[in-house]
């Protein structure tokens, strides 16, 4: 509960002088410092190979930084292990760029996994899966093996799995790469709904349309370095006018950087 009451003040993500070097000599991330507020929607952009995926992987503890400090929800995630790490991961939903779906399981089973690990009741899981599938217009795919789906469908299933357990932090890597305009809108609406109910969201994307006219902060990476930290022009994303502006209201750090 303490997290919720202090949420508007504390940062969900705190990265200080983070470097990630891959062997032999690839500087995937170089001296990145950024603070993302609780409840913020944050965009991560940059050319292919800029280090977006690497940054997200560091945030969910799939990779360890070569240097620097990363705090998520007030915890140094590189010191969290065992059941504490598991509990933290249950609260962090990730939609991976390569989806990581279990191709021999059905859509419903794939989405359910993130809820099963925190022992949600089967009834609750069933309802949540149905609701997510209808929000993404995948109702008829409920019992299809994910291996048989199109890329765009797989992408949306991966997203549904990331948000299913109502995580407080959602990391999305390239959520609209394979989608048409309508599906893109549905995905964004789902993410904005999650954001409105309090989740912090970090989106890595190439799709300018997603962030251009929003008021959210946008971090641009170039060859692993932070190139710029700006805001959208605030004209609003045409179809989601109701989206709450959470970044500006809660956080002053955007101006500092």
């Amino acid at each position: 509960m303490t997290e919720a009451t202090t949420s508007s003040r504390t940062a969900m993500i705190e990265m200080i002088k983070v470097c990630k070097k891959f062997p032999p000599n690839v500087m995937a991330l170089d001296d990145i410092s950024v603070s993302i507020a609780n409840g913020e929607m944050f965009f991560l952009i940059g050319r292919s190979g800029a280090g977006k995926t690497t940054l997200l992987k560091l945030l969910c503890n799939m990779e360890r930084p070569t240097n620097g400090l990363i705090e998520v929800a007030g915890m140094n995630i590189n010191q969290v292990t065992g059941n504490k790490l598991a509990k933290l991961r249950q609260k962090v939903g990730v939609a991976y760029q390569d989806f990581r779906l279990l191709t021999d399981r059905t859509v419903a089973e794939n989405i359910a996994i993130s809820m099963e690990v925190s022992y949600k009741k089967p009834q609750i899981i069933r309802n949540r899966v149905k609701s997510l599938l209808s929000q993404l217009q995948l109702e008829d795919k409920h019992d299809i093996l994910t291996g048989d789906l199109s890329r765009g469908e797989q992408q949306r299933v991966a997203l549904a799995r990331a948000v299913a357990n109502s995580p407080t932090l959602i990391l999305v890597d390239e959520p609209t790469g394979n989608l048409d305009a309508t599906s893109t809108r549905q995905v964004m609406e789902l993410l904005i709904r999650c954001n409105n109910s309090g989740a912090t969201i970090v989106i890595a994307t190439h799709d300018e349309a997603l962030y251009q006219h929003s008021t959210h902060r946008i971090m641009k990476l170039h060859n692993g370095k932070l190139e710029s930290l700006t805001r959208g022009d605030g004209r609003g994303w045409p179809s989601v006018a109701g989206a709450r502006d959470s970044a500006g209201a809660t956080d002053g750090s955007g101006d500092e950087i």
Partner: protein, 295 residues
Amino acid sequence: MNFWFSIFRQTGRNLRQTWTTQFMTCLTVSLSVLIFSFFYLIYLNMLNAGDKVSDDLRLVVYLEEEPGPEMQEQLRLKISQFDEVQEIKFISKTEAYNRFAEQLGDNRDVLTDMPTNFLPASIEVIPLKTLRSLSQIKLFAEYLATIPGSQKVQYGQQWVERFYYFIQLLSIVVLLSGALLILTATFMVASTIRLTIFGRQEELELLKLVGATNNYIRTPFLLEGILQGFIGSLLGLTSLYILFQWTARHFSGAGFLDLFTFTFFPPGIIITIVLLSIVLCTAGSYTSMQKFLRI
């Protein structure tokens, strides 16, 4: 409750995915349980038979002279120096005569001319009915031959020795088949679990990423080991029981087995065997997890 629901569902998935290997493992476990319990059953029954045989087992020390009460006390001491015994009985010449006469029954007429002291006095020593004391019965007999006044020592020598030699051999076979059981149960289960883990690398990886706890990932594999041990041993014991029943039916009345009644394991031993194989299989799955399921 939700925890166990998830665990059972996960275990069910494991079993469904690798059921052929699981089935083979189960069969191997049950076969080794069958082999082990087969020899163990024979061993137990032999021990039992040994007990009955040794009910009649006694060492008889024939004496040169009938000992007086003081001498009896000394002999008693001497005998118990070698080993604890169940009973020491002194048979006087007259008692020996009376016994013999009784054994002759209707033919006791032949004794009418004999003096009542023509038979020697003796000591009857009934050894403890432990395998240890029975296995050194020969040494005991040799010792008894050296006590003062002893003339000759008698017991069912050859037969008893062979019988206990056989039991000792059997106990080695039981130990060997027990070792076989331990090896198959742990190694077979360990390798099956390893196969399952390798076959589901991708899923286990994902489970970790979405925040599955150690217990969530590991308990299904432990449960699998428990299940293998339980079903395997039950299957093995059931087939042994069927074999036992069949043998009992077909050989009842035929000389050898009639000597003693052949009985199946008492419930305590059945439960112990089942628990033992559960523990072994669980240990097998545990070692595999320690090696291949890094969390």
